[in-house]
């Protein structure tokens, strides 16, 4: 890929277009306050996540990846939009559908794939798997697979940031399914009592496994309207719109860095695939999936960039080719990586 971009310099669209564009974006009117590099980088990340997971699905079917595999396909705009404004000192804590957040945070693609393959070279040396991705150096504090179990971990990390008087923040991702756990409400309360720099990012994809939100939740289908009871400010964003998610996150983070206590973002999003790879999706109609899919961020977003002159087709094609090559390389890396040695069973139990 490197040679290709050398022989064919990237054609850049007019930079001023980024600032000037005040046009429809997935049906919403807003400005695009990001540079072309930033806009393209968000596309690269969303496409990377998508292609990573397409490869995961293929290798799950082949038996290279075992256990549970929960794909993030459809939700990429939320993860990328919320992770891209973060700085090195910020923590991320997430749920078991964690590949998207991990890759958006810049976790090594090869080692991420190797972890799913259960190899020694994986992020957690093959001991975590798909649901438990970690990279402490990047302050990516997991992938957590007990629904809602990640809330107080994030609370404690945010507490440590306040205690140590850093200006770091902790972003906690969670799904609509976790909001019926008591720990969700306990954490909202305590985060507000302690005024910690914690950002709750709800990825409301409408289903907790196979249970639609309205089947298991009393009252409003909206969640962001609940949390003012805890004195927490909340906004709702279109989770299929990466720019909207990023803008909302940036606004929240600057308030958190200023010491404004916990904040809450609800992103309305959707996964097109099943809860896990084994899910036959008997609980919903194909029409609903198709409807959301029309707004697929990996398709709609580059179209928007092209329409507004914020990227050229060549730039997008180059970027895709580069990511495709990266994914192929990650699969190769994982396939060729050794299995853990038997004696590693006993490593890392205790300090």
């Amino acid at each position: 890929m490197a040679s290709q971009s050398q022989t064919k310099p990237r054609q850049k669209a007019d930079k001023s277009a980024a600032k000037a564009a005040k046009k429809s974006r997935n049906g919403t009117a807003a400005s695009v306050p990001y540079s072309q590099d930033q806009l393209l980088e968000m596309f690269r990340q969303m496409y990377l996540i998508r292609q990573f997971e397409v490869a995961c699905g293929e290798h799950y079917a082949k038996g290279d990846i075992r256990g549970f595999l929960h794909l993030y396909i459809g939700q990429e705009a939320t993860g990328v939009g919320a992770v891209s404004p973060l700085q090195d000192q910020d923590y991320i804590v997430t749920h078991y559908r964690d590949h998207g957040h991990a890759l958006a945070r810049g976790l090594d693609v090869n080692r991420s794939m190797a972890e799913l393959f259960g190899r020694k070279t994986g992020l957690s040396k093959g001991k975590g798997g798909s649901m438990h991705l970690f990279d402490a150096a990047k302050r990516f504090m997991g992938g957590h697979a007990i629904v809602g179990g990640q809330f107080p971990l994030a609370l404690g990390l945010a507490f440590s940031q306040k205690y140590q008087e850093t200006d770091g923040v902790t972003v906690c991702f969670f799904g609509d399914g976790s909001t019926n756990q008591g720990i969700y409400h306990e954490t909202l309360n305590l985060a507000a009592v302690w005024k910690v720099p914690m950002l709750f990012v709800l990825e409301n994809n409408g289903y907790g496994m196979g249970s639609a939100v309205e089947r298991v939740r009393a009252g409003s289908p909206d969640f962001y309207t609940d949390v003012d009871k805890y004195g927490i400010d909340a906004v709702v964003v279109d989770g299929m719109d990466v720019v909207a998610v990023r803008e909302a996150t940036e606004a929240a983070i600057s308030r958190l860095r200023a010491g404004e206590g916990p904040l809450f973002i609800e992103a309305k999003t959707f996964r097109y695939v099943g809860h896990s790879y084994a899910d036959g999706q008997k609980y919903r109609e194909q029409d609903e999936v198709d409807e959301w899919r029309r707004r697929d961020p990996v398709e709609a977003y580059p179209r928007m960039l092209l329409e507004h002159g914020l990227a050229t087709q060549a730039e997008i094609d180059d970027l895709k080719a580069s990511v495709d090559e990266q994914i192929a390389g990650a699969v190769k890396f994982a396939e060729e990586s050794p299995q853990p040695d038997p004696e590693e069973l006993f490593d890392d139990v205790l300090a």
Partner: protein
Amino acid sequence: MAEILFREAIKRGLAEALDSDPSVFIMGEDIGEYGGAYAVTDGFLKKYGEKRIIDTPISEAAFVGAGIGAAAGGLRPVVELMSISFSLVAFDQIVNMAANLRYMSGGQIEVPLVLRAPTGAGVQLGATHSQSFETWLAEVPGMRCVCPSTPYDALGLMRTALKDRNPVMFAEPALLYPMRGEVPDEHYEVPFGSANIQREGDDVTLISYGAGMRVLGKAADELAGRGVSAEVIDLRSLNPVDYDTLQTSVEKTNRVLTLDTARRNGGLMAEITAELQQRSSEWLDGPVVRVGAEDVPWPYNRSLEQESYPQPDDVLAALSEHLGI
């Protein structure tokens, strides 16, 4: 050398850590203004301030989990549960998070958390406040579990716990808070994985921990009156267990009894018994004898509670029945 109370020994250990390490803080229900349900942290709020002595809501899962997160974030939290029975509300956090985080992250996440909790029956608190879940947590890999039976061990083990880089369940027998015992003025520590031979003897080995040591002490006194020399061993550390000390003693006395003040069924001593049987079967003159609480919820009524709680006479009767002592 001074004589202090068991609760004062724990308090001293905590105060030393608060004094020497600014990353140490304590949180729990009513540990600050109220002073702690068992007065272990009494006076701390005034001395160390609100930043480090934190009253939490009655929200065990959230504040235990927050302690885990704070530990992962580089602090050294001490989290107090008002009863180890309340650990059930936070079990997901203790087991799935605290104990598993290091392993499932391939060694990347460290949780230097001390979780303190009063444990055990005998004070008429009924079924929901009298249990001994250190016996469950002692099974969980990825964390330590200790339970002192004297002020000396309480301070020595607390010092070790506050230096350990792993999650530590520090179970405090509620019956022992008012116990007096000698504690040296000079610094010492009690390492994890080290059982204590409280009394040397030749004829039979008696093993327990925590509040069980009082029962064994009385039984051993009675045996001594009959000319039977009992070796009395306190596990102190429930994970890891110092099997070498136990094995050496068993192979000296050739007879052994284990005591749980928790329910006998599925108790910690089931595991100890099985291990000793396998290690030392050819040295044993009889079965490994087990005594423990009855397989019922803890009753409130004093005489019913004492009926379930193992007594020195139960120990003596079991020795007589199974080993002819």
